[in-house]
């Protein structure tokens, strides 16, 4: 049974349905490997004992018609889980135990999955390396002292390290796709409005979106099928006809037109990224699709726009963490003093930085110059994509401008950290779906990802393209289990 954790979700579901494996077998295997993997620091909170109980219960009366029958999985600690501590990677929620469940996780449990625990992430999902978490760094299973990316760093590490067969992350500016790229796994950021935000600790409401992270495209499609539902509890949830993504998955992408945006060829981009992109173009062509050079002229404004819009919303969203109702509270002489101490002690440096940026850009006298202008540019960025999609069905770009970097390498240089999101951020600003698939390795043997961006609500199409490319790429993640003693 030692190879259980190596199996994909699809294989595990099949083996459970064929009764070759029980939920208890599978859950035990992932718990054991998780327990041996503490050096990765992927978990903030584990829920192993209850998970095993749930697995046993499932096996007593297994409902094999479910999509995730008895499948154990850990989730990013940004999803509120009933009676299980939810921290968002922050000291300020260090002691917070929700009495409610997020819609996305509820959907997962309703399909038979079992919670293994809560995965590490950057504090309030603000970061690109998982180094801003109050609960410490996460190690990338690819190599020691390598960041797994962020903010869904714990999620990426846990999937790549086989601590969980699949997981869900959230993506505000690249927080699913960038760590997926850094750890050699698949990560999908769905269309804004596809997955409910109800019960997800908010970072930037107009950008946040939950999505699946998995070892392969098919697993990713299956999980997306489970988590994407219309939810009246989220006013931005959109009621559209959702595909059976896993059933409708096909490698036939003949005749599809794939756009290659020239603006993504940024200054100082390493040659290996350019080479990877060219290889990607070749793979797409090999699959029978056609590539077309396109222009997304406002791309260079995406990052500055994002770093106005996201902090602005965050500064307001995080105002509720004030020590009054729940979470961490510092003692103060009076109300203002209590606020100041609670928030100074409860929030880490990066979160404080973004709250200050956000507060600044919304201030009277600066609102028009920053926030309003950013909203206008955001519209232009969206228009770029609309224009491009008159000619193409999807867009292919690198996922990140580099492979994973060392822990501590960029912590003192926030701007270079922010640059990590340069290819992923425009997708969030335009509310589009994007998927990152592992597509090769750099000279150090670290994984590199390619991103396929789709039209709104066209997840099926980019999953199909990813599925077709996946076969051609035939990527093998180089995991040595270095952290297991």
């Amino acid at each position: 049974m030692s190879d259980i954790t190596k199996q994909s979700l699809t294989e595990l579901v099949e083996n459970i349905k064929n009764k070759k494996l029980s939920s208890t077998d599978v859950t035990k295997a992932f718990i054991q490997r998780s327990e041996k993997s503490s050096e990765l620091n992927a978990y903030i909170t584990d829920d192993f004992a209850p998970a095993l109980d749930k697995a046993k219960k499932f096996d007593q009366n297994p409902n094999l018609d479910l999509k995730l029958p008895g499948i154990p999985m850990a989730v990013k600690d940004l999803f509120c889980t009933k009676n299980v501590k939810t921290t968002a990677g922050s000291k300020i929620l260090n002691n917070f135990v929700p009495t409610y469940e997020s819609t996305v996780t509820e959907n997962i449990w309703n399909e038979g999955a079992i919670l293994l625990g809560k995965l590490n992430c950057d504090e309030f999902a603000m970061g690109s390396s998982n180094e801003t978490s109050h609960f410490g760094n996460v190690q990338n299973p690819i190599d020691k002292n390598l960041v797994p990316g962020g903010s869904s760093g714990g999620s990426a590490s846990a999937v790549a390290g086989q601590l969980t067969p699949i997981t869900i992350g959230t993506d505000t500016g690249g927080s699913i796709r960038q760590p997926a790229s850094f750890t050699g796994i698949v990560g999908l950021k769905p269309t804004y409005g596809s997955c409910s935000r109800y019960g997800i600790v908010a970072f930037a409401s107009s950008l946040d979106q939950a999505g699946p992270m998995a070892q392969n495209v098919k697993d990713c499609a299956l999980l997306q099928e489970v988590i994407s539902t219309y939810d009246s509890k989220d006013s931005t949830s959109i009621n559209f006809k959702r595909n059976h993504y896993s059933k409708e998955l096909t490698k036939n992408i003949k005749g599809k037109k794939i756009g290659i945006p020239k603006e993504y060829r940024v200054d100082g981009m390493p040659k290996e990224i350019e080479d990877l992109w060219q290889k990607g173009i070749q793979y797409v062509k090999d699959c029978g699709a056609e590539t077309i050079d396109i222009s997304l002229p406002h791309t260079s404004y995406a990052l500055p726009t994002y770093y106005i819009v996201a902090p602005a919303e965050a500064s307001s969203n995080l105002a509720r963490y004030d020590g009054v109702k729940y979470g961490y509270r510092a003692k103060g002489e009076n109300l203002i003093d209590m606020y100041e101490k609670t928030r100074s002690e409860g929030f880490g440096a990066e979160v404080q930085r973004r709250i200050m940026i956000g507060t600044y850009v919304l201030s009277s006298g600066y609102y028009d110059a920053y926030y309003l202008k950013a909203q206008k540019v955001r519209k232009l960025i969206k228009n770029d994509f609309d224009e491009a999609y008159k000619k193409v069905d999807a867009i292919l770009t690198p996922s990140t401008p580099s492979s994973a970097f060392k822990i501590g390498e960029k912590t003192n240089d926030p701007v270079s950290m922010y640059l990590n999101d340069i290819f992923t951020v425009p997708v969030n600003l335009a509310g589009l779906p994007g998927i990152s698939i592992p597509a090769g390795h750099d000279t150090k043997g670290y994984p590199l990802g390619l991103q396929i961006i789709g039209k709104a609500f066209d997840e099926q199409n980019i999953l199909n393209i990813a599925f077709a490319m996946e076969e051609k790429i035939n990527f093998k993640n180089k995991i040595t289990d270095w952290w297991i003693k």
Binding site: Y100, L335, L362
Partner: protein, 491 residues
Amino acid sequence: MNKKNTEYLINRKDNQYEVVIGLEVHAQVLSESKLFSSSSTKFGAEPNTQVSLVDAAFPGMLPVINEFCIKQAIKTGIGLNAKINKRSVFDRKNYFYADLPQGYQISQFKDPIVGEGKVILDMPNGQKEVGIERLHLEQDAGKSIHDLDPQNTFVDLNRSGVALMEIVSKPDLRSPDEVNAYIKKLRSIMRYLGTCDGNMQEGSLRADVNVSVRPKGSKEFGTRCEIKNVNSIKFMQMAIEYEANRQVDLIEEGKTIDQETRLFDTKKNETRSMRSKEDAHDYRYFPDPDLLPLEVSEKFIEELKNDIPELPDDKKKRFIEEFKLSPYEANILVSDIDIAKYFEEVVTKMGKNKDIKLAVNWITGELFAILNSKGLEISQSPVSAKNFAILINLIKNGTISGKIAKTVFELMIDGDKDPQKIVEEKGLKQQSDPKALEALIDKIINENREKAIEYKQGKEKLFGFFVGQAMKASGGKANPQLINEILKKKL
């Protein structure tokens, strides 16, 4: 229209000042549940028993617009003759306070749901139009309780998230009396519409009052001060009076008025500075990304328009035309929807041969007196409109006199009794048999011979004496008209 007599001016040695007032009225939307959550809005519940996860701003909780509150706001807009905006936007107003769980209030800033409108006031010197600048929807905050413990402040979130309509007037009001009339008119309109109960004691209606003064005849506005959160009309009037005089005194002393927010101290009857313009909050308004812009269709608005009941202005017009009431009488009857309802029911129940004037006099006289003395609203009237109508008819058709009717009315109060039955049981029916009355009068004249002679000699005042004696002898039941006629004949 003689304006000069009623103009409200503040006089100093050589100068006269006009007062300019604008109101921001906060009216609680009459609804079962809150603006963005399904918690109850019921007043007076145990602290923190009507609080959802959304109201307490738990992580990941999201607001969902309560459609009913939107309808209520639009109906109110229609009642204020205002433009309904098909697209409006909810913004976040950011500030920290212990009873503001989200750290922001969801409000409408640049794009309110209702635009410009107007309200007509009936003043003693004629009608006055007051412009409405806008109406927007917003959440109420919770309540901080500072006086329960020497060390701690308690927070009650029952009110947190309750829908409020902020109705902003133009600076069109010129006196405390106009403010009184304006608030009453707003309240009346909203109560007709069923969009706000207007209960000021429970805080359903409160206002921020903007006051400035300027030399009489000046076209420019003076610097204004805003008096926050005044919760009764009387306090509003007192605050305006104090504040206007304070500002005039400053000008007379050659000082300048600082634009600031002030509080009205009801115990000392004075306003005092709360914060200056420099200390004003920067609320960092921006559109709430959790809510999409609110769009309503023409059809949606039309359907609500069809749902609007007859409002006070129209009702007044109809009462004057249909029932031949004076504008004064009509005003009293339409000022409150429940009074109007009661009156109209009485009119209906009186049937064909009715005396509306008599009914109006009895409602505004006897009924109001009883309600006043018992501290009741007309909706709690101890006498139903049905029995009230019967009583008026009994007077009208001569079954009882107006005087006896007062006795009957007092007996009706206890248990809403049928006046017809009271009259029968107590034998209060009016004596209208001329023969019986003649006999009675003959007897009285006989017993008071001397007075009868005095009357004949010209002491006409004594006529009243004979009427009184006749009424007394009949136990008040004699038909006074007949008594008059017979006495005239016999004396």
